[in-house]
Amino acid sequence: MPTYRPGPVSLVLAVLVALFLLLPLLAVIPVSLTPSRMLAMPSGELSLRHYRALIEDPRWIQSILLSIRIGVVSSAFSTVLALCFSLGVWMFQPRFTAALVGFVLLPMVVPPVVSAITLYFLLTSISGFSSFFGYDTWLGVAMAHAVMTVPFATVLILVSLSQLDRRIDLAARGLGATVWERATRIIMPNIKFGIITAALLSFVLSWEEIGVTLFITSVNAITLPRLMWMGLRDNIDPAIAALSVILIIITVLVLAVRSVVVRLRGAQ
């Protein structure tokens, strides 16, 4: 059957939009190579000094390690909570499911700035009686990130559960499997891919979270985006361009590998 393809006008417009989407990502490349200490286009010679600054300045390394730690802890926490909740929804289909899922999704739909002021209230309240868990601590940031990422993890796991055949669970149940066995030996192996995706997405969302982090940190818990923000607001530091180029290259590589894997799986 012939399909309806976009015509020349559509193609031209799409190319313009594609250029608009890629332009700012390409623009950081020349800026990252400038020999100047300020934001400028390189005139003549190129320099790698801003890349060197990323390695030599301990602040960048420290914030990268902190972001990884926060990302791993918050992603593990939110994936486990989201998995348990989704299993409960799928296996038992309790009453008020829609309302409960809606409640869980709130941090995703409420404007991030409102979530930020909410979590600021929470962490400053906790700070009143705990110094290692509260405002401007890494554990506090990890908890706040878990609040923000748990709706996304829940959506992903619920979507992969919705594609699962209920009859395999009914068969296990009929053969006398307990709830624990059904969950761990029947259901979870079948939604493995969804669980891993949920954990990865939670990590990435925490890794680049800035809106909430800005409200709940000041001098101690400086995550990578927080450090970039400081460099962007005060005087624009070209080291951010170097870092951006690295992050863009990683993103492109990961997406390329993913699309190859998806196509190979499809071919099998």
């Binding site: 799409a14 930020a116 863009i248």
Partner: protein
């Protein structure tokens, strides 16, 4: 009976941890913020009264609505153009379109805002180039104003606008389009009178998502607006951290949540949630 009870227990035990976590770490502190809006600095409705009378707050609200409206129209139109190719192009066109949509989508908002600063600032790519060819003598003011904010937000939101549009275009029956062409309708006419009307739910969904996102947008306006084109979210930040007026910041947050809630309720009257993915 025992089996029934253990089912109930199982559901409760599995679902309780997340619900408890969100009640303690999200719902309870949100009520705290609502309390701030009624008690700081003095108990009463003073902060909400200030919202209605304060000229600065009003102008920020109006600017936010204006920017959100412009960004919505531009983002949805641009997303539509690229989604058509992503969903209905040849296999090669699809791969390229997907790449152009997903790469920006996965890159952090800070990197993307920084890219626009690198392009638009006085010593950025565009001004350097235009001065280099002698087209202008003084750099154009492209950033630290509303223009920069609109460009940056549009760039951020196009990928989000793409997904609902793509889902409505995928579910569209090719035979209808081929029938229109077969009956002698031109490409343009088929597009405007058959294709576009059939993707209506996608257009509404994507416009709503973009509009709601733009209302609470913080990072891009703060960087590309350079403090001159303050939107609601930045105003909340300034009220909490710079001119400590927690009550007003809290009151603006409450109003913003109510407004977004009303918009979402309106959205779900027209579109089912599944159509948005």
């Amino acid at each position: 009976m025992r089996a029934y009870l253990s089912e109930r227990m199982g559901a409760a035990l599995l679902m309780a941890p997340l619900l408890l976590f969100l009640v303690l770490a999200y719902a309870w502190p949100f009520l705290g913020v609502v309390k701030w809006s009624f008690t700081l600095p003095t108990p009463g409705l003073g902060q909400y009264n200030a919202l209605l009378t304060d000229d600065l707050v009003q102008s920020v609200f109006i600017r936010t609505l204006r920017i959100a409206a412009i960004v919505t129209v531009v983002s949805v139109a641009a997303a539509y153009a690229i989604t058509v190719v992503w969903v209905r192009g040849t296999p090669a066109q699809r791969i390229i379109a997907e790449f152009c949509i997903l790469v920006p989508f996965w890159i952090s908002v800070l990197t993307r805002a920084f890219g626009w600063v690198a392009l638009l600032s006085n010593r950025g790519l565009i001004n350097t180039w235009l001065q280099g060819i002698g087209f202008i003598s003084e750099p154009l003011a492209l950033v630290r104003n509303e223009f920069g904010v609109i460009v940056g937000m549009t760039h951020f939101l196009i990928p989000f606008a793409v997904f609902p549009l793509a889902s409505s275009m995928r579910s569209l029956d090719d035979r209808v389009l081929l029938a229109a062409r077969g009956l002698g309708s031109s490409r343009m006419r088929t597009f405007w009178s058959v294709f576009v009307p059939m993707t209506r739910s996608g257009i509404i969904g994507s416009a709503m998502i973009v509009f709601v996102f733009s209302l609470g947008f913080f990072v891009t306006p703060a960087i590309l607006g350079g403090g001159r084109s303050v939107m609601i979210a930045e105003l909340i930040y300034l009220r909490i951290f710079q001119s400590p007026d927690w009550g007003l910041g809290a009151a603006i947050s409450v109003v913003l949540v109510l407004f977004v809630g009303a918009l979402m309720a309106l959205l779900f009257r027209y579109v089912r949630p599944k159509q948005l993915i």
